[in-house]
Symmetry: C2
Subunit: 214 residues, 2 copies
C-alpha cells in the first residue's frame, strides 16, 4: 500500500498554487467522492472535528464568492470549490456529541469515556470564546494541508484561498448565527495548459534554513 | 506518478494518532531525508515559510520535552520528534528575504517582484504583533497536515502533539528571543505491535454531518 519516497516527493513537487484552471475539465464524481472522504478523515485535536466543509456547486454562489476573493478567476474556473468553516465555539454539547459518536463507533460504553470527556472539558475551560474559535480555526489548516497533499497524490490540482474576505464569505454563505465561520477555502481541478506558474521552478528556502537538528 | 483513490484512502485509514511506538525501530536515514524534504515543500501563504522545523535528536532534550508534554511516552519512544516553530513576527526583512529567494530561484529580477512585495507588506500592515504570530502559527498546521499525510503514504506512523506546554518547549529549546516560538510538535516512527489504538475502528462523524453541498 505504501508508496515510495520518490513518488511522494514527485507528488509534492507536482503540487503548486494553481492560478489558471481548465474550466472545461471537471473532477470525475468517483474521484470527488474520495476527496470528500479524505476531508472527513482529517485528524483533529481530541478527534473533535470542529468543522463543516461546504462544497459550493452553485455557479451563482461561486460568482459571489469570487467577488469576495479579490476577483481571483480560479474561484469560478476550477472544477470544485470547498469552503472550510470552523466551529465558532466549543461547548459541552460539542464534547458530548463527540463522546457519543466515539462510543458508538468503538463500541465503548460512554462511562468508559468519562475521563477523556473531562480532559476535553478542562482544556476547553482554559479558553475564552476568541481562543476557542482560534483553536478550531487552526484545526482547519490541518484539513487544508491534508487536502492539498491528498489531491496532489491523485493528480488533482489545488489552490488554497487565504486572501479572501471571510466576513463576506460568511455573509454570502449565510453562516451568521450558524455556529460556523469561514476559515479558509480551496479550489480543486486541473491546471490549464497555459498556466505560466505550472512550469516555474518551485521556490523554497534552502532546507538548511528551515530545518535544524538539535 | 499519481496513485489511486483506493490507495490514498487506505493510507488515510492506516494513519491514526499512534500512542505506543516501537522504540527499537528507527526510520531509515534515506526515508528521513525524504520526510525533511516533504516538510520543506509545505505550501504557505505567499510562500513565506514563516517557520523553522526542529528535529530533536538529543535524548536528553527529548526527555525534557516529554515532561513538557504531560509525560506522553511517544515523545521519547518514537523514532523521530519534530517541533514545528512559527516565526513570531512578519517584518519587512522577512518579506525582502523571501522576495530575494524567489528572484534567485525563478530567475526573475527583484524589481519585477515589487508588486508582490507590496501586496505582502500591505497585508502585513493590517495585522498587529499578536495577529502576525497567530497567522504564522496557522501556517504551521498546514505543515502538520501535510507531514502526517505524507508520512502515512510512505508507511510511517505519526502522533501530533498539541497537548504540550509550548512555553516550556520554548524554554527547553532556548527559543526566547530567537524570533520563533513552538506551535505544535509531531513524533514519527513505527507503531508498537501492542498499541491497542491501532486496531480500534476509526471514529469520525458521518460525512453528511461535516460535508454539505450548496
Amino acid at each position: 500500500m505504501a508508496i515510495s519516497t520518490t513518488d511522494l516527493l514527485a507528488a509534492l513537487n507536482f503540487r503548486y498554487a494553481t492560478k489558471a484552471f481548465d474550466p472545461a475539465r471537471k473532477i470525475p464524481s468517483e474521484t470527488w467522492t474520495a476527496i470528500e472522504s479524505s476531508l472527513a478523515l482529517t485528524p483533529s485535536s481530541f478527534g473533535l472535528q470542529p468543522w463543516k466543509f461546504l462544497v459550493i456547486d452553485s455557479p451563482e454562489i461561486r460568482e459571489k464568492l469570487k467577488t469576495a476573493s479579490w476577483g481571483q478567476p480560479q474561484v469560478t474556473e476550477a472544477s470544485h470549490l470547498v469552503v472550510l468553516t470552523a466551529r465558532t465555539d466549543l461547548t459541552q454539547d460539542d464534547i458530548d456529541s463527540w463522546i457519543a459518536r466515539l462510543s458508538e463507533v468503538q463500541g465503548t460504553p460512554p462511562e468508559a469515556l468519562a475521563g477523556l470527556s473531562g480532559v476535553i472539558s478542562s482544556f476547553s475551560a482554559t479558553m475564552d470564546a476568541a481562543a476557542k474559535q482560534a483553536w478550531n480555526t487552526r484545526q482547519l489548516y490541518i484539513a487544508l494541508g491534508q487536502l492539498m497533499t491528498a489531491a496532489a497524490l491523485i493528480g488533482i490540482d489545488t489552490c488554497p484561498l487565504e486572501g479572501i474576505s471571510t466576513a463576506d464569505y460568511d455573509e454570502i454563505l449565510d453562516l451568521k448565527g450558524s455556529g460556523y465561520a469561514t476559515a479558509v477555502a480551496c479550489v480543486l481541478g486541473y491546471r490549464s495548459a497555459d498556466d505560466k506558474y505550472a512550469t516555474m521552478p518551485k521556490a523554497r528556502f534552502p532546507e538548511e534554513k528551515v530545518i535544524s537538528h538539535m
